[in-house]
Amino acid sequence: MKRVIEVEELTRVEGHGRVEVVIDGEEIKDVNMAIFEGPRFFEAFIETVHYEKVPDIMRRICAICTASHSLASIRAIEKAFNVKVTEQTSLLRDLLIHGEMIESHALHVFMLALPDYLGFPDAVRMASKYPKEVKAALRLKQAGNMVHNIVSGREVHGMNERVGGFSTVPSEQDLKQIKMVMAATKPTAELAVDLFAKLETPKFAESDNVLMALDPGDKFGFMGDYVLVSDGTRHPVENYQALTNERTVKYSHAKFSSYKGSSFMVGALPRVLLNKDKLEGTAAALYDEHKDLLTQNNTLTNNLAQAIELVHSVDRCIEDIDALLSNGLKNEGLVEIEVKANRGTAAVEAPRGILYHDYTFDGEGCIVKCNVITPTAQNAANMEKDYRAAAKRLISEPDEKLVNASNLSLEPTTHAYPARCT
Amino acid sequence: MYKKLAKTEFPRFFEGLGNLGKVYGPVNIEGSTYEFREVQSPEEMDLKYTRTMIPPKKFFLGTKETMYTFDEEKAVYTPAIGKQEKTIIFGIHACDIHALKLLDKVYMDELMDLFYTMKRRNTILIGISCHPDEYCFCKSMGTSYATDGFDLFLHELSDGYFVRVGSEKGHQIIEANKPLFIDADEKDVEEFKMNEKKRLEEFNLELNVLGLQDMLDLAYESPVWQETADECFGCGTCNLTCPTCRCYDVVDYVGLDLKTGERVRRWDSCMLRKHGLVAGGLNFRPTRTERLRNRFNCKGSLTEGMLNCVGCGRCTVYCPAEINFVEVMKKVIGEL
């Protein structure tokens, strides 16, 4: 008997996706995960645009990781033109990306993933039973947004971070306020770790995972020029094409990636597992406490990894601000830029994983060629693999609950990875 | 009444003003953009400024100000008159003083506007002498010198300020700071006169306003409006930076509880499309051409005997399309 389990529209994800599992008797015939978010062709229309405005367009690829796109774009341009930014700029950028991580993870962990486990369709309805927790989560999310607002100019598609620096330096007072709010909401981040450590993580989506994450240098972080792979190799980001091997599939608008012929995973879990030694303070302690729960092959433990990153990012925001304040804020303006015909590639860890921007410019500083590889494209094949594993479990252990609500197994799988970034 | 304030005494005089209220003075923001901002010390100000981008009308007719708060449950509108702060505007130019005199007529004479009046009454105006740049044409508008409408007026001398007292309030300030002021002697008066004479010669830009109203009337169908409107953005900058423009819009906002809220007024501009729009979609000035013509006609007209333009040059300086007010008027008159 042929059966099709289909989730028409994945919800509580950014963007549109659909999963279709075709089962014939005991056998899984086909698993298709389609991202049918309409394609927007950024790589095509950005051609001829002057570098200065490129990040302004490219950050609009995705709202939830707008700062990641922005910074990947800016860093690719700076690499092409050999721009060195000041320490203050680096610190502000670091602050921004941690802010984004907080905003995005808080949204994701509490509002998108948690309702699955507690049996609610959404956080608003969850709030009727857990008002305190939901409000605390919103405040944590707001703390992340506050960083966006102050450093970048607004919550989504900010504009203040530029090629060569920041247009306007935030005021001391504003930074102090972020610091205060971060300190106040840290317990909520810790609560996230606690919650996901206590929740029983289903094992139905377990299968081999290849992991990839950026090498952040000495400290756990989200920017770097090398990619670490769980097979022990390390590659410069410029080699991203060999790492990702994008291909087009007919049923999905997102491209699918593979590494040495296999699917791979990017995101919080790969980051935490590949860079665990670089975690510090509370985050390091929490990692040690729960490290047995974080298993490379169970994608669903990604939520716990996100929670640990939340704690880390809250601490790092405070640290960055302390460094900024002790150096004294200066109105530095933007670094002078000399354009030349050249190519630049950069990667940033977006909340969902590695994000590559690769540009080639002409002598006037206008784009000749552009390539962007998003975490979703990299994860898409891996998600299919997980869905396949989940579906298999579904057939072999016909748990009533699982069968009745086919969603139940597919949803957490989805929310382990929040899709998006086509 | 005339007095003299020595340069050396100026800092003390300025400090003393702080006791009377919040002091606002011209501060350089960027390039040629100045603004009246709260200042603690004379060093923060640039008293040689030409003009602020936003005119002093902002102190009395807030750019965005709450007029009333309302509460549906209690069924009341409460006028939003907060604590009235004493304000000193330091370093206002003659043209802006004239503009305020005009606004005072509109807002305080007939059916006095409460919000404007309360703030205006709590304000001390201290004028300062200035030099024209290539955009100033206040001389032509008869507003390059103020004989009243201020409390004190400082004219720069080589070693201090020649001070004119314009009101009782001004007189009180002098009295309170008696030791700082001396009587102006003959030399000072001579210098003051000389400076004023020299200043008049510095004006390069002139506009003949005799019969301007008829000229505007006769130019009603002139192609100049269309030509100018083709270049114009209809952005409203000219109105918003004009010290005599006073159009405002009113909007009500309701809060999260859907029961309380506020009625806000904010500056409006006759260059904006909605200015003449009424319900049902009829617009009495649907095109930019008509709106532009209306603006020039309004500026060229008289309000209780005063021209609605004081020649400060702001609308030309800050127009992103570089539309030149005097040039357009000269085209209207037929001089260009």
């Binding site: - | 309302f70 509109v106 006095m112 506007d113 409460l114 505007l216 009113v250 009500d252 200015h275 006609n297």
Partner: protein
């Protein structure tokens, strides 16, 4: 604010600018889009001081929505009561329509110059109204009827689209039939020639009612321009045509009064929206008008 402050405030605030609550005591749907409201001032002292003439208007506030200028549509009979006729066209007017008897509106005014009722005493009156324009003219009519001896013959020309669009239907039909007893001639024109009810009226009184635009009614009536004042209110395009008819009948520009509409926020000559004219003839419709003579229109570009 402390009490003392409030007291001081009420002393310096002109009463015309105070928002005064008024309760809806009667609300009648006259047509699909027009409502007749009777409001009762809650503050009796305020009501006592609220003296107005036909042609003046008030600013009406609906809490949480906004404010709109509305003509007073009746003569001042009972000082506590204010009559308005509101057409539903936008935010505020829609909100007014949603309100019920017992709800509150806030009023300030009265504003504008109004019609020169005293100056017109001793003369005949020719009222020409189109659509909602009849609302302010109703005040003139009522005033003249209340002071019947002071005015000569009263001619009313009222143009409507169709029968169901007729405002104050009972009142006006009464005048249509019985007006002559008070020396009032009431004429009616209707634009929708297929309207049955109007057609019947036209058959019944072909001397008083015909199909077409309001200017057609001039064919039916006789009038001498000498000692007659014409008073016009209607949609903007109506003015030119009515004026043309009047000029043909030797009305002088100063014998023709009309009331205008413009965007307004303050109603008292400050917010600037209702400005019209050019050169030295710049006017604020709210405070220099809304009633103007045709002479003003000749001198003020863009007035009609």
């Amino acid at each position: 604010m402390e009490e003392g402050g409030k007291a001081a405030l009420s002393k310096i605030a002109p009463k015309e600018l105070v928002l005064s609550p008024a309760k809806i005591v009667k609300s009648e749907n006259m047509t699909e889009i027009e409502k007749h409201l009777e409001l009762e001032f809650q503050d009796k002292d305020y009501a006592k001081g609220f003296v107005y003439k036909p042609g003046q208007f008030v600013e009406v506030s609906v809490m949480g929505v906004g404010e709109a200028p509305i003509s007073i549509c009746a003569a001042r009979k009972n000082p506590d009561i204010l009559e308005l006729c509101v057409r539903r066209v936008g935010r505020v007017t829609n909100a007014i329509h949603r309100l019920k008897v017992g709800d509150l509106l806030w009023i300030r005014g009265p504003y504008g110059n109004g019609f020169p009722m005293e100056k017109m005493e001793g003369s005949n009156l020719l009222l020409v109204g189109g659509g909602l324009g009849i609302a302010p003219l109703r005040g003139v009519l009522q005033h003249a009827l209340m002071n019947r001896e002071k005015y000569g013959e009263i001619l009313v020309l009222y143009g409507i689209r169709c029968y169901t669009a007729m405002l104050f239907r009972d009142e006006f039909l009464h005048l249509f039939y019985e007006g002559d007893k008070q020396n009032v001639k009431f004429y009616l024109s209707y634009e929708d020639s297929s309207d049955k009810a109007c057609y019947e009226l036209a058959c019944e009184r072909s001397d008083r009612c015909m199909s077409g635009v309001v200017t057609k009614l001039f064919q039916l009536m006789k009038i001498s321009a000498e000692d007659t004042y014409a008073v016009i209110c209607g949609p903007p395009i109506m003015y030119k045509f009515v004026v043309k008819e009047l000029l043909q009948r030797n009305f002088s520009p100063k014998q023709i009064y009309m009331t205008l509409e413009r965007r307004m926020k303050c109603g008292v000559g400050k917010c600037g929206h209702c400005i019209i004219g050019s050169g030295s003839n710049i006017k604020y419709v709210c405070k220099d008008g809304p009633v103007f003579t045709y002479w003003d229109a000749l001198n003020t570009k863009g007035m009609i």
